[in-house]
């Protein structure tokens, strides 16, 4: 029962990722990201319950606080200082959506078929772990897709957040027994890196007057 709940919630994560990337209004995009982060926290909590592993409640709590509250709050705070509409991406809305879905499906399919090769235990090879690692791969791929095709520096930060969500999903689906010592470090890094990026992005905006990263290409690569 819980296993099914986890599977369906994780599928919702793919939807929220696509929405967060494709939605051209940045406040709504941040909102979608926030929803996704809450979903991750929910999945962690469900795992904690079904595997009877109290350490995972910490995971759930830290994910909720860091990704569900702090990071979206930071994003909104800095968004006020810049503008709210995204710089046009490289692709139009429809081709972009189609390409994004295609990339996500490819990653999903690969991870779904190869999940069993990555783990030693039979118990970890079955559902919902398999579905979860496939979802993680899809979210990861969507994050990459955003990094490659978006030109708005703010949107790229959201892409990085998605990428990190994908990695955290894989963490839980591959290694649900991970100790909490590493957790603190990983979460701190994520929050600080987003903060730093936003700080510098705001500086870029103030000096260049736009968030269009294609201007950044004027520095020789």
């Amino acid at each position: 029962m819980i296993s099914y709940a986890i599977m369906y919630i994780s599928l919702l994560m793919i939807v929220t990722s696509l929405l967060a990337v494709e939605w051209r209004m940045l406040p709504e995009s941040i909102h979608t990201y926030q929803v996704q982060s809450v979903l991750i926290a929910l999945i962690f909590a469900l795992y904690a319950y079904s595997l009877n592993n109290p350490a995972l409640y910490y995971w759930s709590g830290t994910a909720l606080v860091s990704k569900g509250i702090i990071v979206p709050w930071l994003l909104r705070r800095y968004l006020i200082r810049v503008h709210s509409k995204e710089t046009a991406p490289l692709l139009n809305a429809l081709p972009s959506l189609v390409l994004g879905i295609a990339a996500a499906l490819l990653a999903f399919g690969w991870a779904f078929n190869h999940h069993a090769d990555l783990v030693l235990l039979e118990s970890l090879a079955g559902e919902p772990f398999r579905m979860n690692s496939a979802v993680a791969a899809a979210v990861l791929m969507i994050g990459f897709y955003a990094l490659l095709t978006r030109r708005d520096a703010f949107k790229i930060v959201i892409g990085l957040c998605l990428l990190e969500n994908g990695v955290h999903m894989s963490l839980i689906s591959l290694a649900p027994s991970i100790p909490e010592t590493a957790l603190i470090g990983v979460v701190t890094d994520v929050v600080v890196s987003v903060l730093m990026l936003l700080y510098i992005v705001t500086g870029v905006y103030r000096s260049a007057g736009s968030l269009d990263t294609s201007h950044i290409a004027r520095l020789r690569g």
Partner: protein, 544 residues
């Protein structure tokens, strides 16, 4: 391996190694609000103590001890001791160098004086994260610490807060964060694969994973290895992932560029060496992957370096090329390969940092790094000599240090019968020599005939001044006042002469040039330390 697993000693030295610079950073930050003018003194003290800790640690490790702390979370074997020594040394001299350098920039109005403490605070954090990464034995923490080096240095890269430096900082932070997140995925896959064999908490420890390296599922190892090489290779600036590197090195303050090029990239390579070499015996694909990446970086890096007109950019591309050497040598995976990699890690760290310091001195004197413009100026001979020692060292001329490490790499490639690798390595070495000598000639030898006697006297003077303070680093603190006061009077001299470098900066450059020669001699102590480091890597490879 006779010396492996002999004595495991709990030692607080490991904790001091990264706590001391962190404390110095906090003190700098706290004091900086009230006394921005005296920023940097605590940092120099902290960096000196850190270097002292690293020397003590390297010595104990050299004597055969293995130091541990927090259970096995922190571990110093010879390799860790050796890399920590390089990092803390370059960190130490970079801090000393930054003291007069940044004060000059404040005097010139490039940086407001309130931002001065921020520099020293962040750079001490930067050194702290790097030293912590070297003694870390925890797989996931390796990601955390390498990412922390990026975070600590991001604001240093954007220090001048100009459009160019902001964009460089943005690129640096974004691309390195993305790269290292890929590295984290690799670490996670590896960890997940190891959990059933050694248990949840032990699977974090790299030394524990090494024990079960050959029982892990091959698919997981392959995927993890490639993700880790790509992820950490991004931070090291290997070729398809190098887009951030030239801008970052060129736009950041020169002492930061020296730190980034000299040691920060090495930390990433060290992480790869620590984690991925465990799996070389069963998975030759990983070695081949590293060799291919290394070879591409070597060749492309030096070819693009040739086209640069800016000295800092040229050095940045040359760094990519030299990183390629280290990764390639690691990929070969034999004793000599590892020997060459670790030795070259030291050599490139010293030489490239020294050349960036020369860049800093040139900026100090003439305010530019454009090679053609610099060619019009009259240069200090001492610095020209030091620069050329660096050129010949990196270019691999005997008897300097770069020759021996590269020679080890050639022989390793030959022994492994990788002839194309050997060919690329030799060809790159020739190109490197040509590119760097051309750069040196463009900068230092255009005006050498003009004002011969005059420059000779000046060179002698600065040499005498520099040798007088060599070793007495604390001097720089007291000298800053007079230097600032003297600057306007020096400006009255001809434009081509430029401003005379303060003795602390020259002392750092001369000290490092001397080290290039000394490490080239490869004394017993150094050779043994490298030998032990290689053995600790090989011991890891052998599975114990």
């Amino acid at each position: 391996m006779a010396e492996r697993g002999l004595q495991l000693i709990e030692s607080t030295l490991l904790i001091w190694l990264f706590v001391v610079p962190a404390i110095a950073a906090l003190v700098e930050y706290a004091l900086g609000r009230k006394f921005p003018g005296s920023a940097g003194r605590v940092a120099i003290l902290g960096a000196t103590v850190t270097f002292g800790c690293a020397v003590a640690m390297a010595y104990r490790v050299y004597e055969g001890a293995r130091l541990i702390a927090f259970g096995h979370q922190l571990l110093a074997d010879p390799l860790a001791g050796f890399v920590a020594l390089i990092i803390s040394f370059v960190g130490w001299v970079a801090t000393i160098f930054a003291y007069p350098y940044l004060r000059h920039q404040v005097a010139e109005g490039k940086v407001p004086v309130e931002r001065l403490p921020m520099y020293f605070s962040w750079s001490m954090f930067f050194i702290s994260t790097m030293t912590a990464a070297t003694i870390n034995n925890n797989l996931i923490m390796m990601y955390v610490l390498v990412e922390a080096t990026t975070l600590a240095s991001a604001l240093l890269v954007s220090y001048y807060w100009k459009p160019e430096s902001l964009e460089a900082g943005y690129k640096y932070l974004l691309l390195c964060s993305v790269g290292i997140t890929i590295g984290l995925l690799g670490c996670v896959v590896l960890y997940a694969a190891a959990v059933p064999l050694v248990g949840g908490h032990n699977a974090m420890l790299i030394t524990e994973i090494a024990k079960v390296a050959n029982q892990l599922p091959p698919m997981a190892v392959l995927m993890a290895g490639i993700l880790i090489i790509i992820g950490f290779g991004c931070k090291a600036g290997l070729v398809p992932f190098h887009a951030w590197l030239p801008d970052t090195y060129a736009e950041s303050p020169t002492p930061v560029a020296a730190l980034l090029s000299g040691v920060a990239g090495k930390v990433a390579i060290y992480a790869v060496a620590r984690i991925v070499t465990i799996f070389f015996p069963g998975h030759s694909v990983l070695g081949t992957f590293a060799i291919v990446l290394g070879a591409i970086s070597m060749l492309l890096g030096i070819i693009v370096a040739y086209q640069q007109t800016d000295l800092k950019r040229m050095l940045a591309y040359s760094s990519i090329s030299q990183m390629g050497y280290i990764v390639l040598a690691l990929g070969i995976g034999s004793y000599l390969g590892f020997y060459g990699a670790i030795y070259h890690l030291l050599n490139h760290g010293i030489s490239k940092a020294m050349m960036f310091f020369c860049c800093g001195a040139l900026i100090y004197s003439f305010g530019t790094t454009d090679m053609r413009e610099l060619g019009m100026k009259k240069h200090s001979r001492v610095m020209a000599v030091c620069f050329f020692i660096g050129v010949l060292g990196i270019g691999g001329m005997p008897p300097l240090n770069g020759f021996w490490s590269k020679f080890a790499i050639y022989v390793a490639a030959g022994q492994a019968q990788m002839w194309w690798t050997l060919g690329i390595a030799l060809f790159t070495s020739l190109l490197t020599l040509a590119v760097l000598i051309r750069a040196g000639a463009l900068v230092f030898m255009q005006r050498s005939h003009a004002g011969h006697a005059d420059s000779h006297a000046q060179a002698f003077q600065s040499m005498a001044a520099a040798t007088a303070v060599a070793g007495a680093s604390g001097m720089s603190a007291r000298h800053s006042g007079p230097v600032q006061a003297a600057a306007p009077s020096l400006q009255t001299e001809t434009q081509a002469e430029g401003r005379r470098c303060p003795p602390a900066m020259m002392a750092v450059i001369i000290l490092m040039a001397a080290l290039i020669i000394i490490t080239g001699l490869n004394f017993g102590f150094l050779n043994h330390l490298i030998d032990f480091s290689v053995r600790s890597l090989l011991g890891q490879v052998a599975g114990g």
